[in-house]
């Protein structure tokens, strides 16, 4: 019909105030009818310059900052930062501290993935039901965090050399209840979404990433695994004693949005497996190595990374023997996962762009830092 009917592309701002941008993120999409022909990302609405702020505070004082980057998985962020400082200063963590860290990080993964799949289903148009179900389960995990660290969202629980407090006696029954309640919930979610024809039609073949593209665009986490690349830092570069636990890496088939979704769902099952093992073999002893508050690591640099719920979360620290890091760099997974957003959205419709954005599972606090 081109040539008969004159049409003109126009720019549509998806965001910064939009129900599906998961925060203040904006896509300037040029659309031709329903089809997206160009997409440009605009970010920085939440920029707080954490990397600069961190250069003026001691290593311990920086831990709360890491809560505020990826506010949906604060435990993982704390853990990544503490690992980087420990690598820089050469601090050993006692086994109990490591086991607690693993349990906390995996609980955080459950909570974060609950949010991710719920919000993703909401983006595909399932009117709030999956997100509410996911939130119901997430609340239980946040309750555990509250009991343990005193905060639900920004926990600030990890410390350099271990964790802040020992576990409370209520902790173990609460986690056991999670382990009991979660598999039925996951089955329910699978029944609601995984086999749903409409859901499959919306997400299959949408935002396809070939493995070459995923690798070249520096993606990580479920994005990479969805494309069929078996890469998980917990397996490849174990930290906190992940090598003791038996779990599998779920990988997808074609690298579309649906694969990312089922990978996330399966990761939750694997997390439950890890928590089960860690809880059963929870060692006694100290939970923290005492480190001086004004820690002065030796001159040097360290890059430590963990598998956060969103992907590879790295911290690059440079020390000049001062009490605060000379350079504090976060490798934010959801920021770098956006690298391929344009390639995934262009050519699809506006509705596809929303689904792709949902499948990346961004947290704007982490993108803008």
């Amino acid at each position: 019909m081109t040539g008969i009917i004159k049409s003109e592309p126009f720019v549509i701002n998806i965001g910064p105030q939009h129900p599906s941008t998961h925060g203040v993120f904006r896509i300037k999409a040029t659309v031709d009818g329903e089809k997206v022909i160009d997409a440009e990302m605009v970010m920085g609405y939440l920029h707080r310059s954490m990397e600069k702020l961190a250069e003026e505070r001691t290593y311990t004082q920086n831990i709360p900052f890491t809560d505020r980057t990826d506010y949906l998985s604060s435990m993982s962020n704390n853990l990544g930062y503490c690992l980087a400082v420990e690598k820089l200063a050469g601090i050993e963590v006692p086994p109990r501290g490591n086991a607690i860290r693993v349990i906390m990080a995996e609980l955080q993964r459950l909570a974060s993935h609950c949010m991710a799949i719920g919000a993703f289903a909401n983006d595909t148009g399932a009117w709030q039901t999956p997100v509410m179900w996911a939130f119901r389960e997430r609340e239980k995990i946040l309750d555990i965090f509250e009991v343990t660290s005193g905060a639900r969202l920004t926990c600030n629980y990890m410390r350099i050399g271990g964790v802040a407090f020992d576990l409370r006696p209520e902790f173990e029954p609460m986690v056991r209840r999670i382990l009991r309640d979660f598999p039925p919930f996951l089955d329910e979610m699978e029944g609601l979404l995984s086999g749903n024809e409409i859901f499959i039609a919306r997400t299959r073949g949408v935002g396809v990433l070939t493995p070459e593209m995923a690798t070249n665009a520096s993606l990580s986490g479920p994005m990479l695994r969805g494309s069929g690349i078996a890469w998980d830092i917990r397996k490849a570069d174990p930290y906190c004693g992940y090598e003791q636990y038996d779990f599998d890496i779920p990988i997808g088939y074609n690298g579309d949005s649906y694969d990312r979704f089922i990978v996330r769902l399966e990761e939750m099952r694997q997390s439950l497996k890890i928590i089960q093992q860690a809880l059963d073999g929870l060692p006694g002893g100290p939970f923290r190595t005492e480190v001086p508050l004004a820690l002065r690591p030796p001159k040097g640099e360290a890059y430590a990374r963990i598998e956060s719920p969103r992907g590879e979360l790295g911290y690059y620290l440079v020390s000049d023997e001062g009490p605060s890091p000379y350079r504090f760099h976060i490798r934010p997974p959801s920021f770098i996962n956006l690298s391929a957003l344009k390639e995934m959205t262009v050519g699809g419709t506006v509705a596809d762009a929303i689904v792709v954005l949902g499948s990346i599972d961004i947290v704007v606090g982490e993108i803008d830092r």
Binding site: G44, N216, S218
Partner: protein, 174 residues
């Protein structure tokens, strides 16, 4: 366990593929010559032995007299991680070549380094201030950003009981 290549191991890999590309090595990192950077990284990416396919991390560091751009590149199949660096001298207009043609994932991180450090990446397809707005005064992550009158630096170095920081070897440029 991921093997983190030492500087000399990484240098050996790079030197074998592109002779004369390595500037110097330290214990953890291998400094590449800026003009050979793109060529070297492309060769390292395509070489099956090095197989450094995944640019994990790219960031800039300000060392007062020069900037360093740090590349952490890893291999999935070999399971190793190498750290390369390039130096950009001068504070007026530091420039390093862009690796976006080699690693697509570098483009946002290079934009970020440009935004916060003012390091220009030659050959970048669309270098813009990604987090801050165009026309933002200064480069926030530089050490001389927010320098106070009288040569004072904000932060812990000036509080009582804390050892003073290293004096900047280069005069602060407004």
């Amino acid at each position: 366990m991921t093997r983190e290549l030492t500087g000399s191991e990484a240098a050996a890999l790079a030197e074998a593929l592109v002779p004369g590309s390595v500037d110097r090595t330290t214990e953890t990192a291998c400094y590449l010559k800026p003009d050979r950077l793109v060529e070297t990284l492309r060769a390292l990416r395509d070489d099956p032995d090095a197989n450094l396919v995944h640019l994990t991390n790219l960031c800039g560091v300000d060392y007062w007299d020069h900037f360093e751009v740090v590349y952490h590149i890893q291999s999935f199949e070999k399971n190793h991680l190498a750290c390369f660096k390039v130096e950009a001298w001068g504070r007026e207009n530091p420039e390093v070549p862009s690796v976006t043609p080699v690693f697509h994932g570098a483009w946002m991180q290079e934009c970020e380094a440009y935004d916060l450090f003012g390091i220009r990446f030659a050959g970048h397809p669309n270098l813009y201030r990604i987090l801050l707005w165009e026309g933002y005064p200064g480069w926030p992550l530089r050490k001389d950003f927010l320098a106070m009158p009288g040569g004072l630096q904000p932060g812990l170095g000036e509080f009582a009981g804390v050892a003073p920081r290293q004096e900047p070897p280069v005069k602060v440029i407004e």
